[in-house]
Every structure is written in C-alpha cells, then in structure tokens.
Symmetry: C2
C-alpha cells in the first residue's frame, strides 16, 4: 500500500501535487507563510464547493476550569468581528443560499460553508474574518452563555445522546476525551470571558490553522485568497514558520469503568450501549474494524439488525460503532427497546459479540462487507463536504493522504481471520454498559 505522507515543505504557489488523474479530481497541498496549511481537491464539473477552516484544538485540550470553552468560542466567532456584526456574518451566507456552520469536536474545531463556486471568495473572506477578528464582546458573550445552556438542555432531552455521553464518560474514564464537548451547565455558567479569550489567543494562530476545500475551485486562487485575508487581518505570517506538530498517536492507558451504568430518565424507550476501549485513529487495524462493524452492525443485513430486529422484533434501531482519536478509541453496540426487554437485549448484544469472537465471519460476509464499504466510499465522493472532511482528517489525524484506490485496496485486503482476531480482543475486554430509561440506579438487569 502506497500512501503519500503529507509533504511539509513550503510550496506556494502551486502546491505539492498529492493525487491527480486525467479527468478526475486533483489534490494539492501547500504550506503558506505562517505555517498555514491549505489542502484542496479540485473536482471537474462541480458548480459548488465546500470549504472548512480547521483549528487543531478540541474539548480534550481544555484546562481545568475552562471546560466547554472550545465550544463556547465556536459560538462566539459568529457573534461579530472587528469588521462585521453577527447579522452581517449570517447574512453573507444566507443571501447566497449557502450553508454555513461550525462543529466543535474533541480534537478539532471546524468552520465550514458550502456555496456556489462563484461565492467561494466571499466564504473565505468571511470565515477568515471570524477566525482572525473575533471581539468576544462581553454583552454578547453573556447572551450566548444562555444560548449554549439551551443547546445543552436540548441534547439532554435526547435519551440517545444521553446514553452516548454517559457511555463515553464511563469507557474512557479519566482521559480528557471522556468529557462532553459542550461542557456541563455548571461549567458553562462559570467560565469567565478571560478563559475563552485566552483559549482564542492561544490556539487561533497561523501554525494551528488548516484550510481544506473541495469542489469547483483552483488551488492557487484559494491559497491567494486565504493569504490575502489573513494578511489584511494583520496576522504575522513568518516565511519560515512551520505548522504545529500532530498530536502524539501513542495509545494512552485507559482506566475506564467497566460494568453497568444506569441513568434514570422518564422515557418510553430504553437506550442501551455496550462496549469497551479500542484502537486509535492511526491504527493500521482500522480497516479491520470497519469490516467488523459492517458485519456486526453496519446495515439492515448486519447480524445485530437481523438477530434483534428482524428475527425478534425487539428494537427499531440497533447498530455497532467505533470512534477513534489520536491516542484513544472505543467500540460499542447500541439498541433502543421497550424497558421490560433490556435484560434480553443486553444478553443478545453480548452474545453476538461473543459469537463473532468464537466463530468468526464467513467468506460471504467478508465479501458483502467489503462491497458495502467500498460502494459507500465511492458514493460519498460525489459530495464536496465529505471530500473536504477527508482532507481535514488526512492532515490533522493520519498525516497522510490515501487516494480512493488505496483506501479501497486497504479494505479489500482485510481477511476473515483478522476480523475474528479483533472480535476476540473486543469480546475479552471488560464491558462497559450504559442504560438510559425509567429505572432505579440500583437496577442490575442481571448484569
């Protein structure tokens, strides 16, 4: 398998050609002065483009007393800059029918927009202004504190969200990735403006910034627009500055809490998650994990769906999943069922994982899972947003760009033995279980 390590030399204009094919899309990467990285994928024939400005900071990076400040800051960047009011920022995208938003994650924050190709210069100008010129007006900040509390209340009314948050907190224990991205209501009420400002000054700098774009675009033009926008904002872009190094990908010791965690909620349906710590994002076994998840809980033909929904009618929704970060990750199985069936569904989830470990998968299941993953990847490529995200992950997470054929090759190379071996590791790990529903916290479900 040949992957292209992302080149670190400064190569503007033109950029390093990472991948290109006659008639297909072309991926380029440049490191601009200041250490600002720009990765683009020009897709011939596309009339739209999606662009994202990434800062390599997420909730895991927050110091004690600053929990929730990454997400708080993300909100505040929409509240006005030295050049624009909040209304002007919102209007800029609305009036061209564009979609703009931001996402705070555990290891990154991304401000993105999808617009017609002719509106890309506007999108770059506005997002660059938000990144460079935020004012964090104290009165606006106080009002936005209430908006964030409303957002947290909304999520807290979603029992599936509650189950996932509780499971992750339990399975990752004291690791910073265990914390909820948005912070707790108490943390949000307490965080002072100084903390948010300090967070902004510390991380929103050229060497932390990665810009990725895909669609109808020209790499050199995007680089030029980015450079102009950052320079005119007064950012100091030293010719010899280098991007910050990627996070350590050394797998951390995880001291999660195995066993049952019951969260009492007056809802009609119980939400169940069972899982354990697992591989990190750069693990070469990640393609094995993808195949395992496709077979176990990746679609309507998966084992969990067939066994728990189709054969027994116990659930509407059931699936398995894996989330992987720089130095930690986890695997889980989800099911939502009527409260009286929790014990039975827990047994079935555990039994399916055990069966996968004991008996492995058939060649037919392997063939179908590979087809499912490969088809899904090719279908996703028609979307400029998923290509933009892929570039961001390549730069921030894996440090290398895999073209599609290489990714498909990695999936096709997975063997049934590898899947069974991974299932054995997962099945042998102590299990963390979260159940959200109308139960007392002393409930055991025979677990």
């Amino acid at each position: 398998m040949t992957v292209v390590p992302l080149p670190l030399e400064q190569t503007v204009p033109g950029g390093e050609l990472i991948h290109g094919a006659e008639g297909g899309s072309v991926v380029r990467r440049s490191v601009l002065p200041g250490g600002v990285r720009v990765l683009t994928e020009a897709m011939p024939g596309q009339r739209s483009a999606t662009i994202g400005f990434w800062v390599a900071v997420g909730s895991r990076d927050e110091a004690e007393g600053q929990h929730g400040s990454t997400h708080f800051l993300e909100h505040l960047l929409f509240k006005g800059t030295r050049r624009r009011t909040a209304l002007e920022i919102a209007s800029a995208f609305d009036e061209v029918g564009g979609e703009s938003n931001a996402a705070t994650a555990k290891e990154s924050t991304c401000y993105f927009a999808r617009v017609l190709d002719s509106d890309l210069p506007m999108a770059i100008d506005v997002i660059a202004d938000m990144i460079t010129g935020a004012v964090l007006d104290p009165a606006e900040l106080e009002q936005e504190r209430d908006v964030i509390l409303e957002e947290i209340a909304m999520d807290s009314d979603d029992p599936t969200d509650v189950a996932h948050e509780n499971f992750v907190a339990a399975v990752l224990g004291s690791h910073p990735l265990a914390r909820p991205i948005g912070g707790t209501p108490a943390a949000i009420k307490a965080v002072p403006r100084d903390s948010v400002w300090e967070h902004y000054r510390r991380y929103y700098r050229p060497e932390e910034l990665v810009i990725t774009a895909a669609g109808g675009l020209d790499h050199d033009i995007v680089c030029g627009l980015v450079l102009d926008a950052l320079r005119s904002a007064g950012w100091d872009l030293a010719e010899d500055a280098a991007p910050v190094e990627r996070r350590s990908t050394q797998r951390a010791e995880i001291t999660g809490t195995a066993g049952l965690h019951v969260v009492k909620r007056p809802v009609e349906q119980a939400n169940i998650i069972m899982g354990c710590p697992s591989i990190v994002a750069t693990d070469s076994q990640r393609f094995v994990m993808s195949v395992l998840n496709a077979v176990l809980g990746g679609g309507m033909s998966s084992r969990l769906f067939q066994e728990i929904r189709e054969k027994r009618g116990l659930v509407y929704s059931t699936y398995s999943f894996a989330s992987a970060y720089a130095d930690a990750g986890y695997f889980g199985m989800y099911a939502g069922c009527t409260p009286s069936k929790v014990k039975q569904v827990l047994e079935l989830l555990g039994a399916e994982l055990d069966k996968l470990a004991a008996d492995g998968i058939t060649e037919e299941e392997l063939r179908k899972a590979v087809g499912q993953l490969c088809g899904g990847i090719v279908l996703a490529l028609e979307d400029t947003g998923s290509r933009m995200s892929r570039l961001g992950r390549a730069e921030l997470v894996s440090g290398e760009f895999q073209d599609i054929d290489e990714t498909l090759g990695s999936i096709k190379a997975v063997t049934a033995e590898e899947v069974q071996e991974m299932a054995r590791v997962l099945a042998a790990a102590p299990r963390t279980v979260t159940v959200v529903g109308p139960f007392e916290e002393t409930e055991t479900f025979g677990f």
Copy 2:
C-alpha cells in the same frame, strides 16, 4: 411563466422530452402499459443514481380502523417477497454500499435507493419485487408490529416531534391530514393483517405507481427494466390503462382548534409551535410563502433567529415553516426555550408575525431572501436524491414540471407587497399554539 403540463399520452420508448439543455440534464416522462409512469432526469457525468418507486397513497387515505396501515405496510415490504427473504432484500443494497429506505408520508409512500449507476438494474429489480411480490407473512407481521411500536416509542421520546404532531393535529382538526402518519400505539396493536393486505391490494397497482430516477442513467433503459420487472411479477399491464387522476386540489374547509394546547412532559426544554392553516401545495402563492419564511425564520439572518436568539439569547433553535398538501396546508413558528421563558417567547413569536403584517419587509430583505432561495435550489441540484424527489412531486403533487430557470423566475417575481399581504392573512387567522414541557395542562402562559 411557462410550465410544462405533464403529458399523459403513452410514449414508451423514448418518452416525452420535458426539459433538456445542451450539456445539462434531460428530463423525460413516459406512461408505460398499465398506466405506470416513469420520469427520469439524466445527469451527465454522474456515477450514481437515485431511484424511487412512489405509490400515491398515504396516511390520509386510511379508512377508520386502518390507521397506521400505510406505514405498517411499508415496513412489511422489506420483510420478504415470493422471491426474496428479508435478509436477501437487505443484503442486495448493503453489499453494494447503496442506501435504501422508504418513507411513508401523508399523501404518498416512496421506496428509494441511491446506488452506483451500474447497480441501478439491481435496485429496480429489488424494489419492483417488493412492490409486486410482498407476502405479508403473518408471523413476520406480528414481529414487525413490535418494531413499529418501538419506532413510535422512540418518536414519542423526542419532545420536538411531539410538539409538531400535536400542533398538526390541533391546527387541521378533523381533516384526515391531521392524523399522525404512524398511527397510535393502540391502532397499531389492533390493526388486523386483513386490513393491511386490503390496503396493499387496493393501492399497489400499475395505475397508482410512479417511478422517478435521477443521475447517471438512460431513460429507455430504465423504462425497459421497470416493464420487465413488473411483467415478470405477473402484473396485468393493459395497453390502454391510464394513470389514476391526481387528488382534488380544492382547498378543504379546515376546522382546527385555535388556542393553547399544553402537553406535559418531564423535559428540560419547552418546545413551542404557533401557527394556523395556510395555502395548499398547488397554490400560486407558494413562492410568496417561501420568501415569507426565508425572511421570518429561514436562516441565521432571519428575523426570528436575530430577535429571539441573537438579541435575547432565549433559544438555541427557532424557525418558521410551511407544509402544504393537496387540499390543506399550515404555517408555523417553532422555538425551544427554558420552561420559565415560554410566556416571553410566545409573545415574541406573535409579535414578529404581527410586525411582518403591519410593516411588511424591506427591499433589502426581499433581495436577500430571493438570493437565499435561488442559491439553495441550485446547490440542491447536485444531489441526485433531491432531483428524484422533485420529479415525484411534479407528477404527484403539482402535475407540472417546472425547470430550474422557471422556478428561479417564479421566486424572483415575488414582491414585498405580496409577502406583506400573506403575512396579514396569517396574522389575522386564529392562532393554534402547542407547548410541550414540564407544565400542568391548565397552564395558560397568559395566552
């Protein structure tokens, strides 16, 4: 404005050319033997396609004692045919990475899939088999009854869903469109197999069937594949059969219940909807309604968002919306806020509508709303799924196909005066209000 009335003559092969442009997409429509309608949009350069099989029946068409049977039947079509087991149906799409699903609506049911263009023949074969060859096995049916009850329980745990369902029931009163699509738990527990079977036999017939597809495809090939699949299933396709006529678009008398409806739920955030009956789907004023919604509650720069979230920090989410059906429709404004602020938010929602009626909109707001709608329409065109749906709506709802330039022209023709006049009508109508939250049902919020 020139729209193309959908031609009813039988024109297979070749189909009636409805819209085509050099280098652009080409829309064709054919009526096959049996009265089966096929509309396709060939998009040059696309490697995928989305196809939908529509039956012009929805929850509104259910007789007393059969409520929920449209949605029940939709589930059962995935449970096996004379030729395929449930697992074979699921596997067919999963193993090529396709996305397949179905949607039961109030006036139609659609079975759809997005696949690589080379997998389109498979998709047509499998969906046609589901439509023509369902067996409704009694044991499978009993199990699926439980799955549907789980689906209803899941929706019932979502307070925003509950607010919308309750609002629609109140605002449309005794009209069949007022009923929830999935039926009530009691109705689902009671509906006998005979009712579902009768529903299937009555509506799943050639003259009810509309097939729409968009992406990398050829019209004649799609028609041929559909015809082969239906014939080999033994469907009687009479050469002279005509499609069923569209629903009456005569606006119905609506006797909804104005005033306040409180639904008690132990949640952290109150969910509020305020609105009234409004225009039907074919109303020429629908473009005016689109502009009104864009200005009032269509994005981050809209009046509701700016007033209630940005200026006051009272909500995380607020927007306005309109839903329109053949003979009825409604308009509404949504907000989610902390329970103690319901009275204030209700006053603000009402005041914004009143202000729109009293003062109208500025030319600047009109310009921005038109830009927002036009940009959004052009961006949506890159998605084969939204083109597939557009063809379905053209055939089933409006009976005419508008090409993009015509649609953009209709939006650009809207005047500020028309928007104000529509706002006056909405503001003058008796208001229906639903509040879901931790309140007693006697709570008045000063309303």
